[in-house]
């Protein structure tokens, strides 16, 4: 199961990422936001590192931190066109995400799956050829019947 990151650690991880950001990006983020991130991060006891040769998308970053970085990008760095593009992308991704969740957790699908399994089992049972096995006593009885020509 995926670990849910605590807020203080998310803020610390995001600050570690922002520390590598272009100065132009930092200039656009309001001081109060940075300050607040730092206040919250002060409670964190985690240390975060970055892989030197990897792009931001390829870095190992928690899902929470990715969301917070995206939120900061949308709120303070993106221009109007980029905001529209992002909203479209987020809505589209949301549909895909919800569809995946529905597939995973939809009770109808779960029952449907069970029912199918049950039916398949029933059909298999119905059509199965049952092998007749003659027991030892039956063999003896049958031999006696043959001997006295009893049908």
């Amino acid at each position: 199961m995926e670990k849910i990151q605590e807020n203080k650690d998310t803020c610390k991880e995001v600050l570690s990422i922002l520390a590598f950001c272009d100065e132009e990006i930092i200039k656009k983020i309001p001081t109060q936001v940075m300050r607040k991130l730092m206040e919250i991060a002060a409670d964190s006891e985690e240390s975060y590192y970055i892989e030197k040769n990897k792009k931001l998308c390829e870095q190992y970053i928690t899902e929470e931190s990715k969301d917070l970085i995206s939120l900061i990008f949308y709120s303070y760095i993106a221009d109007e066109n980029e905001k529209k593009e992002l909203l479209d992308a987020w809505n589209k991704n949301e549909d895909v995400y919800q569809e995946k969740l529905r597939e995973k957790y939809n009770p109808d699908n779960i029952f449907e799956k069970r029912r199918t399994t049950y039916n398949e089992h029933a059909i298999t049972n119905e059509l199965a050829v049952v092998e007749y096995k003659e027991t030892l006593i039956n063999k003896i009885i049958n031999k006696i019947k043959k001997l006295f020509k009893i049908k």
């Binding site: 570690s16 930092i26 607040k36 590192y49 970055i50 030197k52 040769n53 970085i69 995400y97």
Partner: protein, 232 residues
């Protein structure tokens, strides 16, 4: 430093900054909240010590190590993790011996000359944070404290182009200077707008909204902001 960052030298001169402590940026949030604490005092408070000082980690030290040797402080700030993983950058904290003399302290000699400060150093005593040139804006915003000067300083010992000979004469290596200037032009690990956009495009709406509400609630619950936002 006088040659590369004269403004930093001026700030140190004007504010009588003559004691330094080198650490990593990851320690800054806690320092800006609690001031500088010794390894032992942080451990007693249950705070995990995140940076440097392997010696302190192994043996525990009931004091904060400061030095009047800027190079030693820079060495501490430059300690890096091996391999491909890196922490953002180092910082050198500047203080004045005029302030520190009010705290319990003693000169000690380990493998370098240190001043052991036995009390915690309050944030009011921190007068300067020296950081790499391209991180000045970031740290200024982060601390948002006009009383503390954030100034540029070359913290990578490998890029230092000056030194001293046996007679304490300053020597400048032209070769190292040119190398350093070329290195400044090279692209470093820098995250740009396109990188952030690429990351953001892969997210979905409910995750973003969940994060927005989490941050808003956190700010409200800390009682330092009303959490109202026109973008809501």
């Amino acid at each position: 430093m006088l040659a590369t960052y004269p403004e930093t030298f001026d700030i140190m001169n004007k504010n009588h900054i003559d004691l330094f402590h080198g650490t990593k940026i990851s320690a800054l949030p806690t320092i800006m909240r609690d001031g500088l604490g010794s390894f032992d005092s942080l451990r007693q408070k249950g705070t995990t010590v995140l940076t440097g000082e392997e010696y302190s980690r192994k043996r525990g030290r009931p004091f904060i190590s400061v030095t009047n040797d800027l190079d030693t402080a820079i060495d501490y700030s430059s300690l890096s993790v091996s391999g491909q993983k890196v922490q953002p950058f180092g910082i050198v904290i500047g203080m004045s011996s005029e302030d520190i003399k009010h705290l319990r302290h003693r000169s000690i000699k380990t493998d370098c000359i240190e001043l052991a400060v036995f009390d915690n150093i309050p944030i009011e005593y921190i007068k300067m944070l020296a950081v790499p040139e391209d991180k000045v804006e970031f740290v200024r915003k982060l601390i948002n404290n006009e009383r503390i000067a954030v100034t540029p300083m070359e913290l990578d010992v490998n890029k230092r182009f000056y030194g001293w000979d046996d007679l304490d004469q300053l020597i400048i290596s032209e070769e190292a200077y040119i190398e350093r200037m070329n290195d400044k032009k090279e692209s470093k690990l820098t995250i740009g707008k396109d990188d952030m956009k690429e990351l953001a495009e892969g997210r979905h709406k409910s995750g973003i909204l969940r994060m927005y509400n989490k941050i808003k609630n956190m700010i409200i619950s800390r009682g330092k902001d009303n959490g109202k936002d026109s973008r809501e």
